[in-house]
């Protein structure tokens, strides 16, 4: 498949701060490509540059065969954007929002009204289309936010963390709609800091941290990097300070890295099985009670931990 998006040595600086540093990747037509990384990694900046919102400091990107530097208007005609923050007019109804944004994408007349009907059906808000956005729940607002990005049937859809801050039911609905859109032929560039979302949706994943693309490939290709390791996860009491135990665990033989997130300690080791007994002994010696433990197969979280020494949610 031909790439619908090619990013070449993209750099974006704000003064002395480098938000995106020499990123290169491509997205093939018809695939779901995820940019996975913690908050502040540079995902949104990357999308903002590719969608012509910001001018790159260096490098270029080609979208649908058009350079973002030389032909930004053609790039904008080809893409749809679902921003991370809800970009809606709260005092307008969903219908009025869709009408406004449809017109901004050049739709008018019957084509616009037909497309609005389809989108309202797709996002399941046909019955409440005339209600003002400010009366909607967070999940409903998210759906309108997505609907706007779909109005002009873009070839390439950018979805920037579309599930942030919503309930599990709405999240499920959004993930299903992403898969459905892709099934209908839409190419999707999806950014997230949720490892599970990237795992569920993506054909390929780019892992981004501190503005740099540190890994790129299919999930199999990425997890192969940590293929000979397991992750042992210890759950301790919420009122316990995990750090002394983490420091102790890192000194054990066979431990590659250990990290605490809230009351959960993740230990990457060559053999998690062999680490169970030493870990329990260490916790007993320090008077920290382990409530439960589990061993996880290699996943994108482990890849990130392996590559950065930090958790995705850091």
């Amino acid at each position: 498949m031909a790439p619908i998006l090619e990013v070449r040595d993209l750099v974006k600086k704000y003064g002395d701060f480098t938000a995106v540093n020499r990123i290169s990747f491509s997205v093939d037509e018809g695939e779901i490509f995820s940019l996975l990384g913690p908050n502040g990694a540079g995902k949104t900046t990357t999308i903002s540059v590719i969608s012509t919102l910001f001018t790159p400091t260096n490098g270029d990107a080609s979208v649908c065969g058009h350079s973002v530097l030389k032909d930004p208007m053609e790039v904008k005609r080809c893409i749809g954007v679902v921003p991370q923050e809800l970009a809606l007019y709260e005092d307008l109804s969903a219908l009025e929002n869709l009408q406004f944004w449809g017109k901004m994408y050049g739709l008018s007349g019957k084509a616009l009204s037909d497309r609005i009907t389809e989108v309202l059906d797709q996002i399941g808000l046909k019955d409440k289309a005339k209600q003002r956005i400010k009366t909607y729940s967070g999940g409903m607002k998210r759906r309108v936010n997505i609907g706007i990005g779909l109005l002009h049937k873009p070839k390439l859809l950018f979805m920037d963390e579309p599930t942030v801050g919503i309930d599990p039911q709405s999240r499920r609905a959004i993930l299903d709609s992403v898969k459905e859109l892709n099934r209908q032929g839409m190419t999707i560039l999806y950014t997230t800091h949720y490892m599970e979302e990237a795992q569920e949706l993506s054909d390929r994943v780019g892992i981004i941290d501190h503005g740099e693309l540190i890994a790129l490939g299919t999930q199999e290709e990425l997890t192969r990097q940590v293929d000979e390791t397991d992750t042992l996860v210890l759950h301790i009491a919420e009122n316990e300070d995990p750090q002394p135990l983490v420091d102790r665990l890192q000194t054990l033989d066979g431990v590659l890295s250990a990290i605490a997130i809230d009351h959960e300690i993740s230990i990457v080791a060559h053999s998690a099985q062999e680490l169970i007994a030493p870990a329990i002994r260490a916790s007993e010696a320090m008077g920290i009670k382990i409530y439960s433990m589990d061993i996880r197969e290699p996943n994108l979280e482990a890849v990130f931990l392996h590559l950065t020494g930090r958790a995705l949610r850091d």
Partner: protein, 417 residues
């Protein structure tokens, strides 16, 4: 152009759906104008335009010509639509009328008032001039103020005449050709002339005359209504400017920039939105005050052009202010301050000609001053030609401010990045 209209109409819809904005854009100027009307007694009489039913009690204890002249002024046809005089016999009765809130003021002309000013048959004046007493009703401060102005104008006329007569007599006396008999006759003649002049004097200008010579009634609301409309116009335009920053913050501006729309189109649409909001606000206020307060704003074409010009200049200010700040709250706060300063400087509260000259010069940077001048000129029967200067000044102001705003915006970038 289509994109500009799409953005502008969306902004217009949004601002007219904001209850807080509606209160300040439309309700507040209406209510303040209404309040001014009540305070000035505009609504207490019949439904015709103009100030009316200013009741005054005149106790004339003077037997001379000046007392009669003062009575004649308040009974004159010129003031018939404005003042309703009553003539109680005693000072106590006048006090009672004030306490009963039946009159706005009382004027007491003491015995011997004329004699203290007009020379007698021998050319003599009886002692120091006796003073007229003016008693204001505290419940009708504005009406009392206007009545006081009429009285002051009469007294000024009397004083000018008295000094003139004294000078004439003394100059003739200095020639040595004035016999005592002649001096007496001359003094009496001058005194009578003085009384007649005072009675004929126009103490307060209540009628404006159009170019065609037709009389147009003066109405204080024709000053307050445009004054308030123009002051709150500044609120509308700063709200418009604020929306540019607000849209940047809420993400709708970046989202617009990700559609096939240029920065220039978006900025143009936002500015057009501010302008349309301003035009709509002024049109509603002018139409509303015409219907509710029976105001005659003057020649419709002139009013229409003045609305466009004032909205254009104010929109220039709104856009310029938006470029000076980084947050919507800053624009809101500064906008409120500017609204009040421009209201004061521009004459929305009182006539700036009463203030020092530098205030009048400074007021020329405000759309309020030029707009008010144009609207009051039209309301006074002015033609399109007579408002050409305010029109040109407003358009020029708008062009300069829009140019400054666009240069600054281009430097900073639409999203401030």
């Amino acid at each position: 152009m289509q994109k500009l209209l799409i953005i502008a109409l969306k902004d217009l819809k949004l601002i007219f759906r904001d209850p807080a904005a509606l209160i300040l854009m439309l309700l507040a100027p209406f209510l303040i104008t209404l309040g001014m009307g009540v305070v000035t007694g505009r609504f207490s009489g019949n439904a015709t335009s103009g100030i009316n039913s200013m009741t005054v009690a005149i106790v004339n204890q003077d037997e001379g010509e000046l007392g009669k002249a003062l009575e004649a002024i308040f009974k004159s046809e010129d003031l018939a639509d404005l003042v309703v005089p009553t003539f109680p016999i005693t000072t106590d009765e006048a006090h009672r009328l004030i306490e009963a809130d039946e009159v706005s003021a009382a004027i007491i002309v003491p015995q011997g008032f004329s004699a203290s000013i007009i020379p007698d048959e021998q050319g003599n004046i009886s002692g120091e001039p006796i003073q007229i007493a003016f008693i204001a009703n505290p419940n009708s401060p504005t009406n009392a103020g206007i009545l006081r102005s009429i009285l002051d104008a009469f007294l000024t006329q009397v004083e000018v005449g008295r000094i003139g007569a004294e000078v004439t007599l003394s100059q003739i006396a200095q020639t040595g050709k004035l016999t005592p008999e002649l001096a007496a006759q001359l003094g009496e003649a001058l005194g009578t002339q003085l009384a007649q002049q005072s009675a004929q004097a126009q103490p307060i200008q209540l009628e404006n005359t159009t170019a065609s010579g037709a009389a147009v009634k003066f109405d204080l609301l024709m000053y307050f209504a445009p004054g308030m409309a123009l002051m709150f116009l500044m609120f509308a335009v700063t709200q418009g400017g604020r929306s540019l920053l607000l849209e940047n913050r809420t993400g709708t501006l970046p989202r617009m920039l990700q559609t096939p729309t240029s920065s220039a189109q978006i900025l143009g649409g936002k500015v057009l939105g501010i302008f349309l909001t301003a035009v709509t606000q002024l049109t509603i206020l002018i139409g509303g005050t015409s219907l509710l307060f029976s105001l005659d704003w003057g020649q419709p074409l002139g009013v229409f052009l003045l609305i466009l010009a004032a909205a254009f200049a104010a929109s220039g200010w709104g856009s310029f202010i938006a470029t000076l700040f980084k947050t919507p709250a800053q624009v809101s706060n500064f906008g409120s301050v500017i609204m009040l300063i421009f209201g004061l400087l521009g004459g929305s509260f009182f006539d700036i000609s009463l203030l020092p000259e530098w205030v009048s010069v400074l007021s020329k940077i405000t759309p309020n001053a030029w707009g008010l001048r144009g609207f009051t000129t039209l309301a006074g029967g002015g033609t399109l030609g007579s408002i050409s200067e305010p029109l040109m000044a407003l358009v020029l102001m708008g062009i300069i401010l829009f140019a400054a705003a666009s240069i600054w915006m281009r430097r900073r970038g639409l999203t401030g990045m």
